[in-house]
């Protein structure tokens, strides 16, 4: 197969260092993240002509933050699929750049759920009274963690997956996080510690769940022309896929996620084989989220995810498929309950050779970032980007 040539490049990436932002506003987190990514790329706010964000911004869409940053834009895109939005923002930035609508796209994320005391996984999320499913679901405790737990329960029933296998996802993340001085949780944990941590929603334990942190991040996607005159490694976007999966009119099948379809689209576009991927960033809201993506991305057969992740197979330098080498959402950071941004940032670090030396994947020329946002057991989105380092 001949690989797809990138049509746009990620030239700037920045992860905000804070994990507890009691002294900062959300707008500040967006600004500091934007400036960090622009400095990384060698650009300034004046160069930005496209802006991409989710609807977690304060106020309606992009109004407040675009004005706060004082951007002068040619293109705006507010797309929201929860934590998986950021892979879609990269994809939409590439499409806009290819269509000539902008040449320097800025994507920002910022939030402070930890400072504000949010119980992300176990609270009832805000909803609109006209959401048609609400009266049929709200009375029954439709919080985030339960939705993912129901998928884990079903996976165990259909495929024999065990809590110990799920625990290996957290164990691998903790092995990586020990090297990240900014990670919220840096202690290496064992399978026993994960399965002996308190149950939150059967079969998910506290250590099967990601952290709640403040913070932010930003990405700069540019046209090939802009990329050529910047003094940074070029990370090309060669494959993109996105979709939403719901309850299918009541014909519910929780054995697969929206990533299955998004991955097919992305791999077809990139025209590469799965085994060519050297590193993966997988959204890790919960351990089951990672296991489901590994299967749906095609790194193993459906149902074999439990066996695949066991025995350190996700640990860099140890296993076949190094993942989330910053410690991921399970250990490092989950700014504003939206892990897609940091997934892309760590993939960029890997492709540039700028990950921590203890977890840097050798000759990392092809990487993938995948996200699941929303309620895995009901309505959720899958989004995938395939990234290539260009000489």
């Amino acid at each position: 197969m001949s690989r797809r040539k990138a049509r746009a490049y990620i030239m700037g990436a920045y992860e905000h260092p804070t994990r507890l932002a009691t002294d900062k506003t959300i707008a500040q987190l967006h600004m500091e993240s934007a400036l960090g990514a622009l400095a990384d790329a060698g650009l300034s706010l004046l160069d930005v002509d496209g802006f991409f964000c989710g609807n977690d911004m304060p106020g309606i869409g992009a109004f407040a933050i675009v004005d706060y940053l004082n951007l002068k834009l040619r293109h705006i895109d507010v797309t929201d699929t929860g934590g998986s939005s950021y892979m879609i923002h990269v994809a939409h930035a590439v499409e806009a750049i290819q269509a000539g609508k902008c040449s320097v796209a800025l994507i920002t994320l910022g939030g402070r759920p930890r400072a504000e005391g949010a119980n992300t996984g176990t609270m009832v999320r805000p909803y609109h009274h006209a959401q048609p499913e609400i009266p049929f679901e709200l009375p029954y405790g439709n919080m985030i963690v339960g939705s993912y737990a129901m998928c884990a329960k079903r996976h165990m029933y259909e495929f024999g997956t065990t809590s110990e296998q799920l625990a290996w996802v957290k164990v691998a993340a903790s092995h990586h996080a020990q090297h990240n001085e900014r990670a919220l949780l840096r202690d290496v944990v064992t399978v026993e510690e994960v399965v002996n941590s308190p149950l939150v929603a059967d079969p998910l334990h506290r250590l099967d769940c990601c952290v709640i942190t403040d913070g932010g991040g930003a990405l700069i996607v540019t046209s090939p022309e802009v990329a050529a005159r910047l003094n940074r490694p070029k990370v090309g976007v060669i494959g993109m896929g996105e979709t939403i999966k719901g309850q299918n009119g009541g014909k519910v099948d929780l054995s697969f996620s929206a990533v299955a379809k998004a991955a097919r689209t992305a791999f077809e576009e990139a025209a590469i084989d799965r085994q060519d991927i050297k590193y993966v960033s997988l959204y890790d809201s919960f351990t089951i989220t990672v296991l489901m993506q590994i299967e749906d991305l095609g790194f193993c057969e459906k149902g074999q995810g439990g066996r695949f992740v066991a025995d350190g197979n996700l640990i860099s330098g140890v296993g076949r498929l190094p993942f989330n080498t910053d410690g991921g959402g399970l250990c490092n950071n989950h700014p504003n309950n939206r892990g897609g941004m940091t997934k892309i940032i760590e993939a960029v670090r890997q492709l540039r050779g700028e990950a921590h030396p203890a977890v840097q994947v050798k000759n990392c020329d092809l990487a993938l970032a995948s996200g699941i946002g929303g309620w895995l057991g009901a309505r959720h989105a899958g989004s995938v980007v395939i990234l290539e380092r260009e000489a």
């Binding site: 176990t122 009832v124 009274h129 006209a130 048609p132 499913e133 609400i134 009266p135 049929f136 679901e137 709200l138 009375p139 029954y140 405790g141 439709n142 919080m143 963690v145 339960g146 939705s147 737990a149 129901m150 998928c151 329960k153 079903r154 029933y157 308190p198 149950l199 939150v200 929603a201 059967d202 079969p203 998910l204 309850q247 299918n248 009119g249 009541g250 014909k251 519910v252 929780l254 057991g377 009901a378």
Partner: protein, 135 residues
């Protein structure tokens, strides 16, 4: 019970809108209505005016036998032990609901359940399920 508090904040119109008022009125009488499409002969859930399987507006309310089996479930240990689940009705559709009045250790995927109704604090009756062997 943990589930009851969730509906306090819902205004009656959320439950009484024109599209689903028939469902909620029947629920008050202890009957579980589901939608059937006469164009494609499929049931669907949650109820809509138009069939999500084929787009036809030729849908009708039919009464479910109220029996099915557990497709999956969880126990919300941090939220009062409420048990969200999907129950697959014998009519072939899976509905998001709760299992009530049971020892969580007795639950298993595939076990038979049947409907009963729980009155919420806002006066609405919502379908929940109990293990059939208990009935």
């Amino acid at each position: 019970m943990a589930g009851e508090t969730n509906t306090e904040q819902l205004d009656p119109q959320t439950f009484g809108n024109a599209e689903t008022a028939t469902f909620w009125n029947a629920a008050k009488e202890g009957r579980l209505l589901i939608k059937h499409c006469t164009a494609c002969d499929e049931h669907h859930w949650y109820p809509r005016t138009h069939c999500p399987h084929c787009g036809s507006g030729e849908t009708e309310w039919v009464e479910s036998r109220g029996e099915g089996s557990i497709y999956t479930f969880t126990v919300l240990r941090r939220n009062g032990g409420q048990i969200p689940c999907y129950v697959t009705l014998d009519e072939g559709i899976s509905i998001f609901t709760n299992i009530v009045d049971c020892d969580p250790d007795d639950l298993a995927i595939g076990k038979r359940v049947r409907v009963r109704f729980r009155e919420e604090r806002n006066g609405t009756s919502v379908p929940v399920f109990v293990l059939s062997e208990q009935v």
